[in-house]
Subunit: 592 residues, 2 copies
């Protein structure tokens, strides 16, 4: 069975050596000292390793089963969810007013990585619930908040997001689900939604569906979309459960992965729903969920790569095959372990450098979110808005690649389901697709975020990197190994942005044909910046004297690998972007 | 259900415009005129589309079932195999002396691509048989050939390759299966083999296992390995089937894909076997199978990419979502088809440029094999030996990526099993692993093939490209779009080879840490060369006048895309190689 090693040492380094959270001027951060975060993360890691991870393969093999309108989740899932509920993990970063623990998002991100790494399919149930919580918390009325949030925070009730319809995915303007106003202020919701994760299951007493629908007579297209709360069971004023609402799961999809999560076709047949926020402004409310969900999905990419990496390392150390080309390393054994072979190491280093870089990037991004939410910092808000598609797209594209590489380390054994490596790959695959396929993320980045607010966030990003380089370039080794490559990559990114500015006005395809390369280029610069910051932090720890020299020295080694072998992809991204729209667009559609 | 469109027009172009097969001075090629090849490929394409493809999803869903020692293949598999047998397809390029049709390998390659694209799992049954046929044909005694080959050529009997044991994959020196000599000249084979594709099934009367084992008292390691014929049922002198041999399937593996093929644990319990060739020289005989199998596996990578691409194109044309950024294209419809969007086109162009380039490369390689086998051309033999790991490694790595991209075009629908896109990805995944994982291919290329025969084949490869560029650089457009990029990529490849020569002697890790990048670099140069040759052929057809101008013009467009957007990866490969062994090797093993 696959193992999972919670990356506690690495998270401690990121939080305290690199981000220095307890000294940040952000509400709630002063409490985050080393002991405090260690206590939380240690406990979260135990749950990941001992409760969630052992159910991962079980969930994949059993999947969810639909019988007579009831969905049965895999053995052990409900008990594990109870453990999460009882420990207060479902409300970790939720508003204390509704029973949450009010922890900063940076902590929830670290916990979320571990739990998702251990069991991605299971963690989608609370994950979706959190998204629905946020939408109600931000856009709901006081009554709605009081009625729904405490039970969603406690995990008694779970939530879902209902956007997609059979003919309507990215293009929400095509939505057909109807919401007809009733005399009592409620609506009757009618339509079919598909790909509804956690749409029906046996893990909670009630399911609060958030459903996008159109009120007849409203504006056409996306401007006529409203968001509704549609509970599975009607809720009395006192919170008691009443009659079953007129909605039902029509089918469970058979998917490539995340078998432990129920992906439902949901049929709404005049179900009672309650408008959240204003009529026809549903998209805005939905984006509260979407942005949060996109970062969460980026974390799924990272988390599957991290879990797969743990197993690849263990296998590479245990499996004996061949001899090191530079001389026998295990003379007492019939062969050397795989880890002596350069190409095996290359694969492990690719994974390690990606995973640790992405982990910093995600936690740094979470700190920006905290700065934005807790301090109203507009610059941080602009930055995270700019970077949300990068976190989602880059971490999932590379996370899938990384998990595939971990599987490759196993050779033939990696293809056998009982080893669990196939599952990491299959589960990671969905993260490139849902919450906006990665091509849509690239479109969001290039078509919207890059020029948002007059380009201020993008400029702030470049300035931030420039200032960082300037502040640190006194250190020769750092300059050569980290700052110079970061500068070169950042220059590639600016070159690409410049190309878009110069050509995109005349021909939008000039920008959009390069959008995915731009997203990857951006992601590399972010991870290069992450590694440079970690190198500075590791150097500082070494200079200050530490009993754990090896950890810091190896951190710098891993960073050097990223800068030398992964970051140079930016030049390729730029070359592709600058090759222009013609090669992409000039083929007649019928000639494909 | 997924579709499959046999690429008949493209194969006709490659065979006749580009390779000009009927004018090549290779035995049997003069018959290959346009009508003749069209007749064969048309018929093969029909079988692919109408017989094999409809069973692909069925095979994936049902898989193989083991009951009481008998393996049941999916519904329809046996009938489809009968169609292949009855049409003589199982012996298409086999020796007429044993009932084969004696067709050139270039034709078998084209047929093989289509059949494997349509149903990879099913085609592994005849595929493995062909490998076993080749080993017996090359190394078997006259009696062995007479006894086994006619029935393997006709498909009455099938074959397998038994190499792997639980503790022994790439490192065959660890082999434990024993072969004890008997008085009658036969051997008793005892041991366990795993990952045996087509090891047991209900599609043929007998299964001829080729098994690697050690004769006690022989040399240690790979020098003491011998190859044996071990039939499932004993065979009488007249070819009649006798008693069951002492071998049995112990288990079927549950795998990520190729569910329609039975991957068996095989237990040999004193089974009667017959030595092929000399004792202790089994590895040489095995390599006859392996080299053939490696090219076949490369074709699997290409074939899955090709089939997935067909479906991605169809979906991108049919699915309506969003509007073209440059203005509405389908005003009569609620939205434009996906294919108007630049990032969708980028994905389709990536796939198209890879698939068509790889198809040429594989068929050109098959022509080299024909030149070697039919004409005893040593230079062609050296070339194909050098390129075998490139065909295997590059076509499967990129084929998997390409199939993943095709799945991505489908958005959420691509993750649902009934669409079939997941299966292309899952089936393609094994091709990167078996017959020597791609890291082993890279090791073979850099550690063995590059310097083989004093480096003559490698030098001949570079000379061939240089001569081609020189012969064609009079055409300005061709020079700019094709020859200059090819020259640059070829220079990167030579730079990498030079780096290995200068550093690899002192430190072998300097070469091996860059081996996978070198394999990819080599693959790109091969596909760049492929596209340059196709561009020359397309130009010639246009200059000569043709009723199918669009086909040739679009061929050049696709080639330009490869040169502009995919080939530049060579610079990244070179940069990684030149970053040297240190980043890859200097992490202590315990620090991963």
């Amino acid at each position: 069975m696959p193992i999972y090693n919670p990356p506690l040492r690495d998270m401690d380094f990121i939080l305290h050596d690199a981000l220095q959270v307890s000294t940040q001027e952000i509400d709630g951060y002063s409490e985050l000292d080393r002991d405090f975060t260690a206590a939380i993360l240690d406990e979260a890691g135990k749950i990941a390793r001992d409760v969630l991870a052992p159910l991962n393969l079980v969930g994949d093999r059993q999947g969810c089963v639909l019988e007579n309108g009831v969905v049965r989740t895999p053995d052990g899932f409900k008990a594990a969810f109870d453990t999460l509920r009882e420990g207060g993990w479902t409300g970790l970063d939720c508003d204390p007013e509704f029973g949450g623990q009010g922890m900063p998002y940076v902590i929830a991100t670290a916990v979320g990585e571990m739990h998702s790494a251990a069991n991605m399919a299971l963690m989608m149930y609370p994950g979706l619930t959190h998204g629905a919580y946020s939408a109600i918390h931000t856009h709901g009325s006081d009554d709605q908040k009081a009625m729904y949030l405490p039970r969603m925070v406690s995990g008694e009730w779970t939530g879902t997001m209902n956007l997609t319809e059979p003919h309507c995915g990215t293009d929400l303007g095509l939505l057909r689900t109807k919401a007809e106003p009733q005399d009592d202020g409620s609506y009757k919701i009618t339509g079919q939604k598909i790909f509804i994760s956690a749409g029906e299951h046996d893990m909670s007493e009630n399911i609060i569906h958030l459903v996008l629908a159109k009120i007849p007579g409203g504006p056409d297209g996306v401007k006529g979309i409203s968001l509704f709360i549609v509970p599975k069971f009607m809720v009395g004023e006192d919170g008691s459960l009443g009659a079953r609402n007129a909605l039902a799961v029509g089918k469970l999809e058979e998917k490539m992965g995340i078998h432990g999560n129920a992906t439902c076709v949901m049929n709404y047949d005049g179900a009672t729903g309650y408008l959240i926020g204003e009529a026809h402004k549903g998209l805005r409310a939905m984006f509260t969920m979407m942005n949060e969900a996109r970062i969460g999905v980026g974390m799924q990419g990272l988390s599957q790569a991290a879990a797969a990496y743990d197993n690849a390392v263990e296998y590479a150390r245990d499996r004996l095959q061949g001899r090191a080309v530079t001389g026998v390393e295990a003379p007492d054994k019939p062969a050397d372990p795989l880890i002596v072979h350069p190409d095996i190491r290359r694969m492990l280093m690719d994974q390690k450098a990606f995973v640790e870089g992405a982990r910093f990037f995600a936690m740094w991004g979470a700190m920006m979110i905290d700065r934005s939410h807790r301090m109203g910092d507009a610059e941080a808000e602009g930055l995270i808005s700019l970077l949300t598609p990068v976190i989602k797209g880059f971490l999932t594209d590379k996370g899938y690649q990384s998990a595939t590489q971990a599987q490759q380390v196993y050779g033939g054994h990696g293809y056998i389901e009982e080893q669990g490596m196939s599952q990491f790959v299959r589960d990671a695959r969905i993260a490139m697709i849902y919450e906006g396929a990665n091509g849509v993320q690239a479109l969001d980045l290039v078509g919207r975020k890059l020029a948002a607010n007059g380009g201020k966030p993008a400029m702030a990003f470049f300035e931030m990197i420039k200032a960082f380089i300037k502040a640190n370039e006194g250190d020769e080794a750092l300059k050569k190994d980290f700052l110079d490559p970061l500068k070169a990559a950042s220059k590639d990114l600016q070159g690409a942005a410049m190309y878009f500015m110069q050509n995109g006005m005349k021909n939008p395809n000039a920008a959009l044909a390069g959008s995915t390369d731009f997203l990857h280029l951006f992601g590399h610069v972010c991870l290069g910046y992450a590694w440079a910051q970690m190198a500075v932090a590791a150097n500082a720890a070494l200079a200050a004297g530490t009993s754990d020299e090896a950890f810091y020295a190896n951190k710098i080694r891993t960073g050097r690998y990223y800068m030398a072998r992964l970051l140079p992809e930016t030049a390729l991204n730029l070359a592709r972007i600058q090759s222009g729209p013609e090669p992409v667009m000039d083929m007649p559609a019928e000639a494909f």
